[in-house]
Symmetry: C3
Subunit: 201 residues, 3 copies
Amino acid sequence: MLYVFDLVGVAVFAVSGALVAARKGMDLFGGMVLAVVTAIGGGTIRDLLLDAPVFWIGDPTYVIVAGGVALITEIFGPRILPRGKPLLFADACGLALFTVMGAAKANATGTPAITAVVMGVLTGVAGGAIRDVLAGDIPLVLRKEIYATASIFGATVYILMRHLELGAQLAAWTGLFATLLLRLAAIRWHLQLPRFLGGPE
Amino acid sequence: MLYVFDLVGVAVFAVSGALVAARKGMDLFGGMVLAVVTAIGGGTIRDLLLDAPVFWIGDPTYVIVAGGVALITEIFGPRILPRGKPLLFADACGLALFTVMGAAKANATGTPAITAVVMGVLTGVAGGAIRDVLAGDIPLVLRKEIYATASIFGATVYILMRHLELGAQLAAWTGLFATLLLRLAAIRWHLQLPRFLGGPE
Amino acid sequence: MLYVFDLVGVAVFAVSGALVAARKGMDLFGGMVLAVVTAIGGGTIRDLLLDAPVFWIGDPTYVIVAGGVALITEIFGPRILPRGKPLLFADACGLALFTVMGAAKANATGTPAITAVVMGVLTGVAGGAIRDVLAGDIPLVLRKEIYATASIFGATVYILMRHLELGAQLAAWTGLFATLLLRLAAIRWHLQLPRFLGGPE
């Protein structure tokens, strides 16, 4: 099941990268590179940190899926998709999938619980952050709507459930939907946490 | 002692990340993510390059310290700290600590002296550079005041003293203060090196 | 021969980093750090992904060459070089050299062909992307002229020739010139691929 999670996460982040590339007027291959880097970025950082073999090196499926999805998005996306929302939706799905995958892979190697949560958050936010920094945008994680919070919440739910031995599959789906629903609710209703008590400097 | 250096470096970089997050109006958890990434970024790159286990994976103390310090800074910092200077001061301390830690860890694995200096500089500047790039700021390392120069100077002093077998502790403290004092002097008196002879293009 | 390719790639990317630093008005040591990071960035990411020893850690030659070339460029470059073009030319050479080196190193470890092409492209574009992101510029890879396309083309040519067993040296030189000539032609005649069918959002 983790394989499917990784593959779907790669696909939705590839969509998000291709949409950003289209908005910036990049050409087909430039957009494909941005989409692939976005898609494999989070999982790559996760595997490097865990000293595991990088997941897409031995299995070209990920890159083929990311590149193919990017091409389809680049060609058809701007015509058929409404503005703005698809990017946020694809990014939210990728955030949720990679948050759980990062926490799961770290947990499987026996890291402390807090480390596993951090790994989940880093894996979840890294792909989108790389995409936005390369594209010269303000990373979504810095926006005022709930974003990092959703990832921290989902990863914590997942790790708590695993430590309570509630079953790997149930924990994964619960963590996934916890992240996704919180993030989608934040997008829909512009939910914000209270800012710093002191306000901006 | 190296453990303490790492821990203090993590704490001061977490303060700097939390202050940037406050200035950008990020929420509590978004600011915590930025602070933790800033705090563990430099040491993470160092450990990946040296193919050593990443220092915070097995020991949750670092992440707990970074997250706790970030939270306290976010809640109380903007109220009690004067503007501008605390960020530069925390960043200078982190630069000095991680410069020495990077050079020390590289030296301990028997790398050539020049490699150890480069590792010190990369470790010192990486955390702050990640923070500034994610926050959409111009990295401090690009500012005109002495910054990279302080790190190169401190790392070189440390490695020279180690090769002269002057004692690990003495070398560490000397390298630390060499970096810190040069950087603080640059902040205080706006010290600059001469620019390129040819000037900007 | 691969050693020479790496060394020349390091040197030309160091030139490009130093030219960007000069344009930004950085001081000598700040410019040297930017140049060295640009020069070793692509190969470092390649080696981390392949779980190989990072190429410059054990052999200080690369860092010495990068630092020395940077210093010479910083001192003499802005005086004797015409504006704009040298940066694009040095970057194009680095792109071509590191594209082939990335694909070659991946291929030598027995990765699937598609992975080797992706490694070539990542290695080729990473150094310049790090340079541009740190300097606050729009990465060249995002510009509208052919850039990523040249790298994908060169890496594909190289890997195809290796799989057809046409000889390692011939494949390397052909891949190198395929990348370089396509990129230089794009710079000279402002070649662009067609944009997305749907145009920008």
